[in-house]
């Protein structure tokens, strides 16, 4: 990334777009402090999360404020049951047992995975693992949620549940950054940022950016002919 500057207000839902390899995941890792604390490389400039400099703030502390859901759920799941995964964060916050149970129950319902409560995440499908990884972060209830391409392995019903969950988070004043390639999957965003080769080339209100067909086509974020074909009764 190079000379990227932007500011996101509390309660904003922001979609981050850009071609593969343009730096979207890198940006997510910076928000959570994983860059510069855990990964190598050189970070110039600075990032403030709720007024705290990520460079000076330990990752464990940032994790309470920024919940990251990665592209590969296998990197996030490590406990023997789904329930344990969802309870892990609130238990580590030393919340009362009733509160932990309430959060676990709530997240299972929001994501529609009550039937997976006692399953071993290892035995779940790719899409189910993705839902559990997301649930583990939702149960932490951070002020800022970062979802890095979580939608792709999900069936239409789960996609709908997630966009409903994001809308509910907005109502509660939470801030959400969503990385996706599918413009339909970010229809709930208030604002859109576009990265290209590590530079921020667009920052605007979602309806305005999505309305700029010329721009989207020119930067290969949308393809003309893909819109029209409806061959299958899906």
């Amino acid at each position: 990334m190079s000379k990227v500057s932007f500011r996101v207000g509390q309660g904003e839902i922001v979609a981050l777009l850009g071609l593969s390899g343009c730096g979207k995941s890198t940006l997510c890792l910076c928000l959570g402090g994983i860059i510069p604390h855990c990964l190598g490389g050189e970070m110039t400039g600075g990032i403030l999360v709720n007024g705290k400099k990520t460079r000076d703030c330990p990752v464990a502390q940032l994790a309470l404020e920024v919940g990251l859901v990665f592209q590969d759920p296998d990197t996030q799941l490590f406990l023997p049951t789904v329930e344990d995964e969802l309870a892990f964060a609130p238990e580590n916050l030393c919340l009362p047992v009733e509160e932990v149970e309430a959060r676990v129950g709530n997240v299972l319902t929001i994501l529609g995975i009550n039937d997976l409560r006692y399953a071993n995440p290892k035995n779940l499908s790719g899409g189910q693992k993705q839902l559990v990884a997301l649930g583990a972060v939702l149960s932490l209830d951070p002020g800022i949620l970062v979802l890095d391409e979580v939608m792709a392995p999900l069936d239409p019903e789960s996609k709908k549940r997630i966009s409903d969950a994001v809308n509910a988070l907005r109502q509660r004043g939470k801030t959400v950054l969503v990385v996706e390639h599918d413009l339909e999957a970010v229809s709930f965003a208030d604002r859109i940022l576009v990265l290209e080769n590590g530079r921020l080339i667009k920052d605007g209100q979602a309806p305005d950016v999505l309305g700029e067909r010329e721009f989207l086509l020119r930067h290969k974020l949308e393809l003309e002919d893909e819109l029209r074909i409806k061959r299958w009764d899906l």
């Binding site: 071609l19 593969s20 239409p156 789960s158 893909e226 899906l234």
Partner: protein, 226 residues
């Protein structure tokens, strides 16, 4: 004509009561793009691993070009059927992108010149040339997926099985992939994709099957091609 045939196939994971597949009879031809859809956890990936011989059915029989799949080892199946995992990082293991693509080609017995030419062609097509000397696991998720797909496509298997091939791909790279698949099927080879990407399926699938409750059902076309 069925290149791969499932005959009364059932499958359950060890220690789990509920079967993933039950009495499945299905034929996968060596032509066109067969798309498999179904809810999360319905068994799509399990099905593809059975198709590839990575998992063995707990009931029934799977035939590959007439031969029982159980009589072939993975190397023999792998020469006919190419498989790209849902998580592409799992199948990358070489030091550089170029070696990753060349690995399978070398094992097919191609000369170093042929390997190098073919690797260059496919890297060029999938826009991986500038990463040819990069470490595969340092690529972004979308780039890893392109690499995993390119490495398998280079081998020109009779049937390609791609699990969630468009996850992590931007629209432009999806189109590159789709156009390549059209070339593949034009050369009398077949493709199976497992996907939730409805736009991709609508554009490229020539047959659609839905897996739910352990059984497959054919899904009909809308009759509206444009």
């Amino acid at each position: 004509m069925g290149f791969i045939k499932f005959i009364d196939v059932g499958f359950s994971y060890p220690g789990q009561n509920k079967p993933v597949l039950q009495d499945v009879n299905l034929s996968i031809p060596k032509e066109g793009v067969t798309a498999v859809i179904g809810p999360n956890g319905s068994g799509k990936t399990t099905f593809s691993k059975l198709l590839m011989g990575i998992l063995k059915p707990t009931g029934g029989l799977i035939r590959l070009d007439g031969e029982p799949l159980s009589s072939l080892n993975l190397a023999q199946t792998g020469r006919r059927v190419g498989y790209v995992f849902q998580n592409p990082g799992k199948q990358l293991f070489c030091e550089t992108v170029e070696e990753e693509i060349g690995f399978g080609l070398q094992n097919l017995g191609l000369t170093p010149e042929q390997v190098s030419r073919k690797a260059r062609e496919i890297m060029e097509y999938f826009e991986l040339t500038r990463y040819s000397q990069s470490f595969p696991l340092s690529l972004s998720t979308g780039e890893k997926r392109r690499l995993a797909i390119a490495a398998v496509l280079a081998l020109e298997p009779d049937l390609l099985v791609l699990d969630e091939p468009t996850a992590g791909l931007d629209p432009y790279r999806k189109k590159l992939l789709g156009d390549y698949l059209e070339r593949v099927i034009a050369s009398q080879r077949g493709v199976v994709i497992i996907s939730h990407d409805h736009r991709f399926i609508n554009k490229y699938a020539t047959r659609l099957i839905r897996l739910e409750g352990g059984q497959f059902a054919e899904v009909g076309p809308t009759g509206n091609h444009h």
